[in-house]
Symmetry: C5
Subunit: 292 residues, 5 copies
Amino acid sequence: MLTYNSKDWFKFIFFFRRSDTVVTLLPGIIGVGLFTWLIAFLELKYLVLTEREYIKNLSVMHSMLTFVISMLLVFRTNSAYDRWWEGRKLWGALVNNSRNLALKLGAMLPQEDKHNRMFYKKMIPMYAHVLSLHLRSEITRLALDEKEHPELAAIDHNKHIPNHVAALIFRRTNRLYEEKKITGDQLIVLNAELLSFTDICGACERIKNTPIPMSYSTFLKKFIFFFVLTLPFSFVLSLKYWAIPVVIFIFYALTSLEIIAEEIEDPFDGDENDLPIVKISENINKHVAELL
Amino acid sequence: MLTYNSKDWFKFIFFFRRSDTVVTLLPGIIGVGLFTWLIAFLELKYLVLTEREYIKNLSVMHSMLTFVISMLLVFRTNSAYDRWWEGRKLWGALVNNSRNLALKLGAMLPQEDKHNRMFYKKMIPMYAHVLSLHLRSEITRLALDEKEHPELAAIDHNKHIPNHVAALIFRRTNRLYEEKKITGDQLIVLNAELLSFTDICGACERIKNTPIPMSYSTFLKKFIFFFVLTLPFSFVLSLKYWAIPVVIFIFYALTSLEIIAEEIEDPFDGDENDLPIVKISENINKHVAELL
Amino acid sequence: MLTYNSKDWFKFIFFFRRSDTVVTLLPGIIGVGLFTWLIAFLELKYLVLTEREYIKNLSVMHSMLTFVISMLLVFRTNSAYDRWWEGRKLWGALVNNSRNLALKLGAMLPQEDKHNRMFYKKMIPMYAHVLSLHLRSEITRLALDEKEHPELAAIDHNKHIPNHVAALIFRRTNRLYEEKKITGDQLIVLNAELLSFTDICGACERIKNTPIPMSYSTFLKKFIFFFVLTLPFSFVLSLKYWAIPVVIFIFYALTSLEIIAEEIEDPFDGDENDLPIVKISENINKHVAELL
Amino acid sequence: MLTYNSKDWFKFIFFFRRSDTVVTLLPGIIGVGLFTWLIAFLELKYLVLTEREYIKNLSVMHSMLTFVISMLLVFRTNSAYDRWWEGRKLWGALVNNSRNLALKLGAMLPQEDKHNRMFYKKMIPMYAHVLSLHLRSEITRLALDEKEHPELAAIDHNKHIPNHVAALIFRRTNRLYEEKKITGDQLIVLNAELLSFTDICGACERIKNTPIPMSYSTFLKKFIFFFVLTLPFSFVLSLKYWAIPVVIFIFYALTSLEIIAEEIEDPFDGDENDLPIVKISENINKHVAELL
Amino acid sequence: MLTYNSKDWFKFIFFFRRSDTVVTLLPGIIGVGLFTWLIAFLELKYLVLTEREYIKNLSVMHSMLTFVISMLLVFRTNSAYDRWWEGRKLWGALVNNSRNLALKLGAMLPQEDKHNRMFYKKMIPMYAHVLSLHLRSEITRLALDEKEHPELAAIDHNKHIPNHVAALIFRRTNRLYEEKKITGDQLIVLNAELLSFTDICGACERIKNTPIPMSYSTFLKKFIFFFVLTLPFSFVLSLKYWAIPVVIFIFYALTSLEIIAEEIEDPFDGDENDLPIVKISENINKHVAELL
């Protein structure tokens, strides 16, 4: 993730980064442009239609469906953004959780118990680290797929690493309790943090392996496709060759939102807009080391 | 559920899966097409109406109601998606819960206590399994219906299975406490997970047996029906026979959203868009076995 | 509540149940129809206005305000549905709560302690039962009214029944603790459920006795009224007598949403769309008996 | 607050209460009416403009901005309603909290301990009472203002009363624990309620002293003002003197929403739409007396 | 933050504060005005286009995209406001938390233990104070940036101050427990507040260092830019030189929303609309001193 200054309008408007939707959409933009030119050529040169043709009234359909498509895109944008923001919250909770556990153990363990301090100093940031690897792996994304994935079979007998780290941390803490190094009251006080690790992991996995229902994704793409491809028929009659940039701009505006939503929806990949989970786990490492 | 790559536009646009709304709507599409053709024939050939007829201004009604219908469809889409996503969250919580319980018991029970370990290793995934069966049964869906269902009477004396599994787990845990195998502090630490099983079950039942209020469902269907069926009267005058594909496309766009919402609303059936609860309970089985 | 199959379009479109908004709105529909006919008669026969009259441009006002009215109706729909769904969640929580309490006590109380088991077997479902009566009484609805209600004075010295049942349950549980039949750790484990009863009751009372602010309700009704009553003036000129069904349909669409919202907003009455709280409390009775 | 029957359309439409927005807006309505008349006079009599003037196309701007203004008003309505409803939830939580605390103490304290029972019987409802006074005072509203308020200095050395009542309750409860009148387990069970008092107070203060960001409030008012004041220029040409009621109605619809939002936003004042916090604290008094 | 009276319409409409968007947008407004004038001059004087030109139909594109842009701006407004309000809630929680901790310790610590009372009286408000400094520092904003920031290197070896204050508070509380000055039950009762400090800090950091995904910010700015810059081409033909104020007003309305969202999004800066975190931490200081 790149931190940016949102007030720098000039840079945002005139520079095109590699992940900009204009770049991603370039082939589509060219295709739509050519298609509109073709329709314009057919209607204006070949069929010589005029503005009085009935086909011109097709625009009534487009204006009627504009609301529906706008609403749908907003629904798409909201649900994608909610996942992204929920992902960010979860990693924020992981940071808090790691800090709190370190802070509590730092106070409960005797200053001279180097051995146990070392253990937690290593294992707490370890959890964030293995979780970040876990969330970027292909197996996690396909965990709920009903198709077989023979290509992943080789790796599949690897166990669920974050669970194992969590189990190590819990076992050590329980042993401290059994050895009376911490009291029962202190165990209860530690419980929330211990529990929270796997909760966060499970919620991240949920975001990762469950995109929005396929039927919405399919319907929206089909809808945009037919909507944009019927635009030239009426626009060419009222705008002539000016219809080409107009259709392109509408295509760009509508598909950009879908493209951005697709990218944002899975916030744990390494894309430019995705969450900086590697950076966050480095920060956890730094903070925990300070506290223990 | 099929995991899909949302960036594959080509496949989404040109392939029609069996659950695609186009397929479901085919009879309706044909009906609406024929109806529009009939109106077109009547108005253009039989009555020979022209664009100056007053009926053409009917379109003012449609443009006014477009907002209302779009808003309603978005309300419908949002509430259906919220149920689906809440269902997903609940099953995610069930995963976390099962993992946490396994992880804690794995640390608390002595390594050599094979007997109790075996019990939990079997019963924790069992809960997810019986819950998935419970949620797909017809009795669960009709639990709040005020009509009599004599056809279900034969099965009705089966008891509430998930509750019984939860009771078994809780009883065993309480016995461990009474036999001093776990301390009171540890019982408190285990409490959240034990409690959470029935909470998740109850919330899933709520989603299953309470669709959105019937009056919304009825009103929306009536509204779409009259809206689409009055479209041809004015469109035929401005678009002639082109009105047929136009009315069909509008019909397709509006009803698709309602159709998808109906399917998504009950996320525990085995449809293509529904939650992979069987797969999830298999994953729970695998993870719990690793941890105990 | 009637459980319904949302996919049965045919039945929804062509059958009119007694609670259908069309039925409720019938007087209004007739009134609006007559009014539009009157305006049509006056403008077309008496004043003989033509389409070139300035009054026709009144439609610009209507198209401008359509957004505002649609947005408001969606706000109304959302807030009413949220109350209904919150009410459903609360009763779902009551189910979970009763189950969990029964399940825990079933494990904690010795099998032979028939006396206490009987007590909880009776009192836990009793709470749901008295709550359902409490929520349907007129006193509950008017609990926050600042006007005097002398007609209710006779019943008013009845005390708050759900609170008394909750107090009985809590007192018995505390006595079990004092008599050392359950330990302190077990009391803590039971605490969440004991507490939850009155929380649920309070939240249901809130939904019952606090409708949305009167100013929104008033404004929306006034707005719809003036909006619909000014429609005929311009529509009659462009649609002649066709304006009658058109105005009726717009009136139907807009007021239906308000009518449904009014009904849904108080989800504890016995209407067809309301929550089946009696059925739910019967189910609680059945499940608790199984678990204790 | 007045409890009302939302189904009484007739009364809502034809009666104007003192707090009705029509009444509040009367000066504005007259001003806008006069202004529109002035523009009408100038354009029609003095400049004798006709419908073919370019100024008539100004309406294109208004139709474009209608969406933006509707959306903004819905954002305003939603955020104001959310505060109002959150305020209601908080006072509902205060009711639950007071009941639960009374109910628990009623069970824990020995029946003969009149002294402590009396204390809680008096202090629990006292908290609701002082909170209601606290929330209606001007000091609370201005707690975060950065300007100096010398006019409030005289009262400012009064301390934070709700905090002091909460401190008294907590201190007494802690003393009961130290005197072994309640056990540690019981203290933990009471903790949630004791904590909740100040949490509710803090959340109410937040709603009271933080209106929505001033920039939104300013922008919305400026926007409505310029939007409405440019309406007559084009409307007069298409509607002649009919523009006067039309502009008035649009002005009424848009500003009403802002006016209602302003009133709802601070739900603790004594306005007709505000929360009945005095009534609620009386109810708490009644219920707590029953339970202790 | 300035507390304001939202009912003072006159002042809001006619006064322009320094942070008003009109002031911020002045250069843009002048630029857009000049650009529109240029297009008007070219089209009307140089090319002498008339209303019948095809370019006039460009307005069909603008009316189609108006919905999309309004929806996007509302999405932007909502997500920015949510952050601002979440920030306010967090600081409200910090107030509650500090009060509760002070109130509990005030009751638990013996009246004569001046030493420990002094410690908490100083350290609890200290946390709010160092957090407010921490949230205004540039390092916090850039904590997740992947670029190197050599200019910040000099300060970077400063440690995470709020964590250290939290560690001091927790350590002291744990020592009180070990020295038996507070019991285990009391430690559990104090746990929620101790934990909450770092949770609040982490959540504030999240809001601070994670703006909305750059792709939305970029897309929205590009979209507004092209939308506004193509407006004059068609408006000039229908509105002549009147197009200049019209385009300026549309530009003002659209960009204002983006500008306000940018400012609100980071609620911890010292801007006029930002949260009064310094004032809040002063209030915490005052209230805690009263309670301990």
